[in-house]
Subunit: 470 residues, 2 copies
Amino acid sequence: MKAIVALGMTMFLTAETIGQERQDISPEAAATARTLMETALESDLAYDIVESLTTEIGPRLAGSEAEERARAWGAALGQELGFDRVEVEGFTMPFWDRDSLSITMTAPYEMELHGTALGGSGSGSVQSEIVYFRTVDDLVAAEDGSLEGRIAFIDGDIMVRSQVGAGYGPANQRRRIGWQHAERAGASALVVRSVGSDSHRFPHTGMMSDLDGSWADIPVIAVSNPDADHLRRLHNNGEAISLTVNSVAGWHGEVTSGNVVLDIVGRENPEEIVLIGGHLDSWDLGTGAVDDGAGVAITVAAAKLIADLPQRPRRTIRVVMFGAEEVGLLGARAYAEQHADEVANHVLATESDFGARTIWRLSSNVSEAGTPVIDEVGRVIAPLGIIRGGSNEPGGGPDIIPLAMLGVPTVRLEQNGEDYFDLHHTPDDTLDKIDPDELAQNVAAYAALVYLAAETDADFRETPDGTASQ
Amino acid sequence: MKAIVALGMTMFLTAETIGQERQDISPEAAATARTLMETALESDLAYDIVESLTTEIGPRLAGSEAEERARAWGAALGQELGFDRVEVEGFTMPFWDRDSLSITMTAPYEMELHGTALGGSGSGSVQSEIVYFRTVDDLVAAEDGSLEGRIAFIDGDIMVRSQVGAGYGPANQRRRIGWQHAERAGASALVVRSVGSDSHRFPHTGMMSDLDGSWADIPVIAVSNPDADHLRRLHNNGEAISLTVNSVAGWHGEVTSGNVVLDIVGRENPEEIVLIGGHLDSWDLGTGAVDDGAGVAITVAAAKLIADLPQRPRRTIRVVMFGAEEVGLLGARAYAEQHADEVANHVLATESDFGARTIWRLSSNVSEAGTPVIDEVGRVIAPLGIIRGGSNEPGGGPDIIPLAMLGVPTVRLEQNGEDYFDLHHTPDDTLDKIDPDELAQNVAAYAALVYLAAETDADFRETPDGTASQ
Ligand SMILES: [Zn+2]
Ligand SMILES: [Zn+2]
Ligand SMILES: [Zn+2]
Ligand SMILES: [Zn+2]
């Protein structure tokens, strides 16, 4: 990162003279963006924020008392940093929580396995030989009632590692729908290989998919990749494998969660909103540093740097710390509902929720009129080691989905996610995994993008006839 | 490793012509050693052995039923591979075992920590604010009775990473003697930062030191590096930290352990022994792949390749799978006692117990007369990427210590231990951490060294007057 920083400083000067030829973004605005980047690269603010969140609050399961403490922390942070408006916007949600779990191999010999209940898992004490399924598809093909009283085990494969996280969707099927077929076939418990790209003995938790609003009655347990490898080798040796699973987990009625909304109010078009953010909840196993303390920290820090400028940008910058992302984008849905009357005023939205590694690509899905502005942003942030990607790529982070579905334009600063799924939803998602310099590069890119999007008068939204709206 | 293999093949040819000029090792012997190396680099035998041990036996705590299964496995392996003599040599030992543990931070908020009892820990349920000690020396300086009923926490620092494992000794003081000072000061429990170079949420177990034959009455728990970091940050923030520790662990009387001894009997001097080996026991948290399934596999495979030659070497090659290493070199001490009358016949001894990474250096501590032979071995194995180190360096692995103290000459094939203490004594010490190519390089080096040491008629031992004996 030191190299990038040094390179950046040199290239900013060169880029500045080029920038003066562009439209939609004034030379002054581009120069301000470059100054923001320089400031961001030297700033510890984002690291301090994620250190504070993970240390002072710790794990913050959606709907828990810890998540409530996190909201208070977020609101206090917003006040302290001088945001113009600070709101905690509550919503209710069903609360799932885990208690104790033990999962032990009892045959061919006794060995404790490293497992965790998946989100939505039921409770139960089961002792049985396992029925081995090489893939989730094999379990999908199991006949109704064929697993009566048994423990099903879906092996699958270690998640494929990729910069863009492309391995997640395919691997995630066993976590998402495995339980539905295990229950249909009569199994008393389901054990699955974790959805993760690491080879450490950490299980990866995460939410299952509901089935028409209902959830698993049986325990559904993810075991670490090395544990799954171990079971596979024993199975391939022809050994009969028995497990004992004792899981206590389940639903506990409705509780309150909430989003924390921090605004830097625009000087000319305060009703127009550039929305950024991350999610405040984390899984309970780690302290949620890369998922998603980093996203909260990056976006708050970027907005704060902009707030420190001599004047507010034209448009409002809104940082949302979404609640209850992990359990089904509940905060994001609540936000879209609670802000239904101003959704059309959201000119651009993006979330940071893919770890804390360096951003390497800028992609977007905005109006034809707005695309050259994002192109220009791309030129401004290029010295940070970021290339311009597709200009017609939907997406902006999970919590942006409800807004995007309502037509809000999105942009994405894509982080290198090569090791994100090593840590994702494990106990190992802790502060030490964050490189302060990489985090600062993120803040620099966000600060430039968000400032320019808020300062330009170009419109990223489409009108019904496909041209830029006003 | 593919590069090293290819390089090796070319360089063997070159080295061969040089080798013909050397003394003590005949050109034929050197040629045979090079053939053994080529065979070893292409062989999967060592990997198959460590896969079998870790998969079919699993964790194998010293003195446990699992360690007994491992001895049966070792003896059956020796028979199957055609060793000339296979013995299981029993001894008795006191048995320490852990049962359940929970360690939870209860203030400033609730969070489960990742901990494990240290070997020799007592049982107890304690709830208390912690007294923070920056280093073990600070606890050593605590006054008698000053910690009455409290939980002491030794922070210390993450173990320094090094190729030769030099960080282990200094870091290990808190694990070794911390409890003695915690008890002296009246603490009800001791928590220490794990002795490990990783930043994963795995605690590292390991034996404490006894105090004149007595062991801890209180629970002594190691927490992972990220957990210790977390406590340090909270402490530095001025927070009062409370923990709840519930540990069940302790001593359970005398049990039987044993060493497995496999001999390739020498054709000319069967009474002279070149001893190699590893330890069969492992800590209970992982499956003991790098500590020390690898060492067992490397040395058994090397001996087996030599046994496959048309004729036995001059001297006997003995592979010892030592029992109960982790709890105080008990197998090694038993071996030295039980073989007291033939200790003087051990012409050279070395153990592989430092992981499964590439060997990079050959060091030795043998007679003046024997040193040129080891030098020549160094030239033969140099194409494997191994340099010749000191020729007066004591050591040959932990289980060799009792023999070395009785005057048995030692040699060491030093592995790259840079990440050994990432895995050491953690649940994460599993088969997937072993690279088959790196393991094969170890076998190649051992096969060449052991063959040449068993085939030469040079003596590595010193006579009382300091010249070579015999
Ligand atoms: Zn997330
Ligand atoms: Zn997540
Ligand atoms: Zn060892
Ligand atoms: Zn060890």
